[in-house]
Symmetry: C2
């Protein structure tokens, strides 16, 4: 791939991901406005537990694209908020399985609604086929680098 594909002035926004930062900020604002005491990072962990409860911390590392210390601390804080609970695995005592509490389960509907609203705000006026192509490009980038 030729080096001259990018004008220098275009490098910045691709690397810094301004679009995804803007989406995350908007969602955080909606959480705050709704009186939810929850960070986007905490929400991203809950998101994967709503899909499948009882994931290990390592599973959550893979799912959220974070390293182990990050997940340790996110789970610490989610436990403090009483949204999840660590349970040591019976079969392999190295593993913590993370389970949602009732309060953790209760947040799903409201926060997913706010997340969908946020994406609808973000993608207003963008044709669906362009959205799909953009997602495919971003997936290729991820696959190329991971």
């Amino acid at each position: 791939m030729p080096n001259n594909q990018f004008k220098k002035g275009e490098l910045y926004s691709f690397i810094t991901g301004k679009a995804s930062i803007a989406i995350a900020r908007r969602l955080q604002k909606k959480f705050n406005a709704a009186g939810l005491n929850l960070t986007i990072e905490q929400w991203s962990v809950l998101y994967h537990l709503w899909k499948e409860d009882g994931k290990s911390q390592q599973d959550l590392c893979n799912a959220t694209f974070r390293d182990k210390p990050s997940i340790t601390r996110l789970v610490d804080n989610l436990e403090k908020l009483q949204l999840v609970k660590r349970v040591a695995s019976e079969s392999d005592r190295r593993i913590n399985k993370i389970f949602l509490t009732k309060q953790g389960l209760k947040l799903q509907e409201q926060t997913m609604q706010l997340a969908e609203e946020t994406l609808n705000d973000a993608l207003e006026g963008v044709p669906p086929d362009q959205i799909n192509l953009c997602k495919a490009v971003l997936q290729s980038v991820y696959d190329n680098l991971k």
Copy 2:
């Protein structure tokens, strides 16, 4: 715009921006491998000063999409590394203008080369027209939310 445009399972990667995180991590690794003691965030400030030296901290906030305390601290750290220097404006004493040092100027060529390499890694196999469309979509997202 209809709410059902997204399957729930697709929300996550759009919000978390895994692609741009992967790009930033790859670039950071290249910096480290080259023995450069520089974070991506610090580099992003230098990037805008290479385009136009002497920007104010507020200019850098706008350019880098960061808030004022973030820029204060990034400039603090860049000053410690002796890559930039704060100079109080003559005409408006509230304003700090930020100027590159010789060492700061010297980093441009090498780091921009590494940034281009990173983007070439990231976009390998993605046709240019798809890249352009993807960039346009991300710009729309940014414009919709900012």
